[in-house]
């Protein structure tokens, strides 16, 4: 006789509304929005620090800051927070939300691990902020030794900084494993690797970089903590260590980290440009593969951050690998231009931010080649030219793409459209403010103004004032966005399943999607970018139910049709 014990059903009320996002959940959509919400908070906070930096730099003399230490804290925390608590987790949030939906799945491969990876971040953020209670980190986000060592940074905030980054790094690695397993194993029938949306490709390449590079950050941080807490001497020259060892280990992670912050942004861009130009993405395979070219090269260029400290002979190979990155990056830029060419461009807010990326990122890419050239870099290294360069890459690139992504997928996440008029005001102010803030910095750097100083030679005053005005415009620019978010969440126009008439799978379910994502297993479009093709139109008309096979007409290249490989896994 089998006795059956009925599991006692305890009625736990399910949190609803905002509360859902404040508690543990293994739903990838909840987790994705948790990532996005948390990192958006840090974006606002890091932005506030940036405004303080710019206000201090309005005039050559000290104005806000009591001393250099206070200023050093500002830019240390600004850089660290923007990189590790904003851009990286924000893009991880997009990945979490979108990858399972784009693959037509219920969830990530390891939902529990996914939640665990997210929940390492709030404590990491609190530990980082707690630095202010015990004396914050002041050694820059790069934390070079010996300045960050126990002798020159006796305050405990530096230790908390390292512990916080340790947690963020571990979270990042767990997330990457989850993405790789999900992407390789959980594609739906009818979707080969070569039919994945490019955002999924980008997340795949990014996850591989994270898996290769982030353990080096963990290793470096462990040695830093040992030096600071256990009296070891890995990096201290006075007792036999080597400060260049830290630089090598740090940049072996932190240069690839740039691509961790840029590749998913490029993935967002590929989606938004194609959909809002109503035209197939140009050169799908070149774009997908160039991500891997960038990922590979990105791991062998770290020495260009050390052109003024590295042994002379070692500078040349790093110059060559660094310059080569311009090639796959150029492939993407030109392919996106090719996507626009002949399209029917809709100037939605999402598209405007994507065009903002295109027009600004190219400047960051070009200045990157200047900095790759050893003789030119020797002059420009650690000057404001570098500050201009990486803000054109990370703000002109990643942040513009993040906003494009928010405008594009907000309807899916919330079920409501964002207001387009407010979106356009937000874009115009951001674009002008961004350009005004960072473009003059090129000239400051060329003139020789070093980074990380709060008092400066009065000859740099005019350009600094321009830059500060730009930063204040950006501060104003965020207001319409915040208003837009708040109002649209409550009273936005209902989005429907597929407001952009897109072909990727996340749009083939309700907005927001049900907890299980799809009521029945979705059928992926044979070509996720088949805009303007009869198959694409038929797929849309059927609401994502009918995926016609591909005719050679639609998928050949413009001039010479080529065979498409058989689809299927």
């Amino acid at each position: 006789m089998a006795t059956t014990v009925k599991p006692t059903a305890i009625a736990v009320p399910k949190p609803r509304g905002i509360a859902k996002y404040l508690v543990w959940s293994i739903d990838h959509k909840v987790i994705g929005i948790q990532y996005i919400g948390l990192s958006f908070f840090f974006f606002l906070f890091g932005g506030l620090l940036a405004e303080l930096i710019r206000i201090e730099l309005l005039t050559p003399a000290a104005s806000l800051m009591v001393d250099g230490g206070a200023y050093n804290t500002l830019f240390t925390m600004h850089g660290t927070i923007m990189i590790f608590l904003f851009v990286v987790p924000m893009l991880a949030g997009f990945g979490n939300y979108l990858v399972p939906l784009m693959l037509g799945q219920k969830d990530m491969a390891f939902p529990w691990l996914n939640a665990f990876a997210f929940w390492m971040l709030p404590p990491a953020g609190l530990i980082m902020l707690a630095g202010w209670l015990v004396g914050p980190a002041q050694a820059g986000w790069t934390s070079y030794f010996p300045l960050s060592g126990p002798q020159y940074s006796p305050l405990d905030g530096q230790t908390l900084w390292a512990i916080s980054l340790h947690l963020i790094g571990a979270s990042s690695i767990l997330g990457a494993i989850n993405f790789i397993v999900t992407i390789l194993n959980m594609r739906p029938p009818g979707m080969s690797l070569w039919q994945m949306p490019l955002f999924v490709w980008a997340t795949f390449a990014t996850s591989i970089i994270i898996l290769v590079a982030t353990p080096f950050l963990a290793g470096g941080l462990t040695l830093m903590l040992l030096d600071r807490l256990a009296g070891t001497s890995f990096f201290s020259p006075a007792t036999g260590g080597d400060p260049l060892l830290w630089q090598n280990v740090f940049w072996f992670y932190s240069h690839p980290a740039v691509y961790i912050m840029v590749l998913p942004a490029m993935g967002i861009l590929s989606e938004v440009l194609s959909i809002h130009a109503r035209k197939p993405i140009f050169g799908y395979r070149f774009i997908a593969l160039s991500s891997f070219g960038i990922a590979f090269l990105g791991c062998i260029v770290w020495g260009h951050h050390m052109f003024t400290s590295l042994a002379s002979w070692a500078r040349i190979p790093f110059m060559l690998t660094t310059m080569l990155i311009a090639v796959p990056t150029g492939v993407k830029m030109f392919s996106w231009l090719g996507t626009l060419w002949g399209g029917k461009i809709r100037f939605t807010s999402a598209m405007l931010f994507a065009l903002g990326f295109l027009s600004m990122f190219v400047i960051g890419g070009i200045t990157g080649v200047f900095l790759a050239s050893v003789p030119v870099d020797i002059h420009l290294h650690d000057t404001y030219f570098v500050v201009a360069h990486f803000h054109f890459v990370l703000f002109g690139g990643s942040v513009f793409a993040i906003f494009a992504g928010l405008y594009h997928w907000f309807p899916k996440m919330s079920g409501r459209m964002l207001n387009e008029r407010l979106g356009k005001i937000h874009f115009v102010l951001t674009y002008i403010g961004f350009f005004l803030t960072f473009f003059p910095m090129h000239f400051l750097g060329l003139e020789g103004m070093p980074r990380r100083i709060y008092t400066y030679d009065p000859k740099y005053e005019a350009l600094n004032a321009l830059s500060t005005i730009g930063a204040l415009i950006m501060a104003v620019a965020i207001v319409p966005f915040l208003v837009n978010l708040a109002v649209s969440l409550v009273a936005g126009k209902p989005a429907g399943n597929n407001p952009w008439r897109a072909l990727t799978l996340e749009w083939m379910t309700s907005s927001p999607p049900p907890e299980h994502n799809f009521d029945e297993p979705p059928v992926p479009a044979v070509d996720p970018y088949g805009y303007g093709t009869p198959e694409g139109a038929a797929y849309l008309a059927s609401g994502g139910k009918v995926a016609l096979p591909v005719s050679s007409h639609a998928h050949g290249h413009a001039d010479q049709p080529i065979e498409r490989p058989a689809t299927g896994d």
Partner: protein, 372 residues
């Protein structure tokens, strides 16, 4: 029709290239090129700038053209042309940037070879550069001295005083800077010479330059080195002199060093050490020596205050008098902290005789005891 289209592409391309060439030839965005190396670097930069302008115009022009020409007209709900790619075009825009990059790499390498110069040259001047929190100091080679009274030991002692807070370099002679740091990483940077090299503790690094313009500029610190990093870029000057003026300067420096070596603990020597060798003015105010730093406490009236500290027994080293307080403040600054100033900012290594000799310490104490 097709020919026309290509003709337009070629015409636009030619215009872009012309603009690039004009920009590359005319735009000067750098400060004065005061070294031979700067001239080579500037040519390379302008060559890159010309190419950059062309690429910039192609991309931005393409974007602007597309958003005008391919904007959706009102009422048009159709999609764009289903063009998925063009292999020839894609290979072209992979190959051309690759070629450009190789050309730039080769040119850059050539310029680098001319500015790096690892081999010593016959007529080069060797100058030591030492970074400390938060100033630079410069160590000069001693001239010949035929004075029979100068023993090798005395010469060793004189050598310690061949040091100054200003970098003097002769015109048109190659200079090899041997760069060290006493504490954290600094970066030796003279924008007008286009040279930069980190001063990494534990190793001697080199920078190489040939001044070709007379003038006076800042020696900048380009690597974050602590609370006084900003101040460190506006402390030390580099001055380019004629060869004869340079020789004269070295002779004067040597004569003063010789004098100092004969009475190394005098207050006058202490004053010179405070001003030059130890660059105390990076952080402290001292009217008598013209120091204007604002990172640490003022030294005006230090002797009077030191007596008060001595009575209260605060921060004393090697005695119980005012001298012991001043000595303590130098060799162990955290022992007593002036209210409002944090620990760990004043260099912690002046207790090390290799960093500050016993003679130098006593000379500085003797001098500060006169500041009432």
């Amino acid at each position: 029709m097709k020919l026309n289209r290509y003709a337009i592409y070629i015409l636009v391309g030619a215009i872009f290239i012309a603009i690039g060439v004009i920009v590359g030839l005319t735009v000067r965005v750098f400060p004065v090129a005061a070294s031979a190396e700067a001239v080579a670097v500037d040519s390379l930069f302008n060559f890159m700038l010309a190419i950059a302008v062309v690429i910039f115009l192609i991309v931005e022009g393409g974007i602007i053209y597309s958003i005008i020409r391919f904007r959706r007209r009102p009422g048009d709900e159709t999609d764009g042309a289903p063009i998925h790619g063009n292999t020839a075009l894609e290979i072209t825009w992979t190959a051309i940037p690759a070629v450009i990059v190789f050309v730039l790499a080769i040119y850059s390498y050539q310029v680098y070879l001319t500015i790096r110069n690892p081999e010593p040259k016959d007529n080069e001047v060797r100058i030591g550069v030492i970074g400390q929190q938060f100033a630079w100091k410069f160590v000069y080679e001693m001239p010949e001295d035929n004075d029979p009274n100068v023993t090798p030991e005395l010469r060793e002692r004189i050598k310690q005083y061949m040091i100054d807070s200003t970098l003097y370099v002769p015109l048109n002679r190659p200079v090899r800077a041997l760069i060290e740091s006493q504490d954290v990483i600094h970066s030796f940077y003279i924008p007008e010479f286009r040279i930069k090299q980190d001063a990494t503790p534990g190793r001697v690094s080199e920078a190489y330059f040939t001044p070709i313009e007379k003038g006076e500029w800042w020696v900048v610190c380009a690597e974050l080195c602590g609370v006084g990093h900003a101040a460190m870029s506006q402390i030390n000057r580099v001055v380019v002199l004629e060869q004869s003026e340079f020789d004269q300067y070295i002779a004067q420096l040597y004569a003063k060093a010789k004098e100092t070596a004969s009475d190394p603990r005098s207050p006058e020597v202490g004053k010179q050490l405070i001003m030059n060798k130890y660059a105390c003015g990076a952080c402290h105010i001292l009217d008598d020596a013209g120091l204007v730093g604002n990172i640490g406490p003022s030294l005006n009236g230090i002797a009077t205050r030191a007596e008060g500290h001595a009575e209260r027994g605060e921060g004393l080293v090697g005695g119980t008098d005012a001298a012991a307080y001043i000595r303590g403040s130098i060799v162990n600054p955290n022992l007593y902290l002036v209210p409002g100033y944090a620990a760990g900012i004043m260099p912690q290594n002046y207790g090390n005789p290799n960093v500050m000799s016993e003679d130098d310490l006593e000379a500085i104490v003797n001098y500060l005891l006169t500041i009432r």
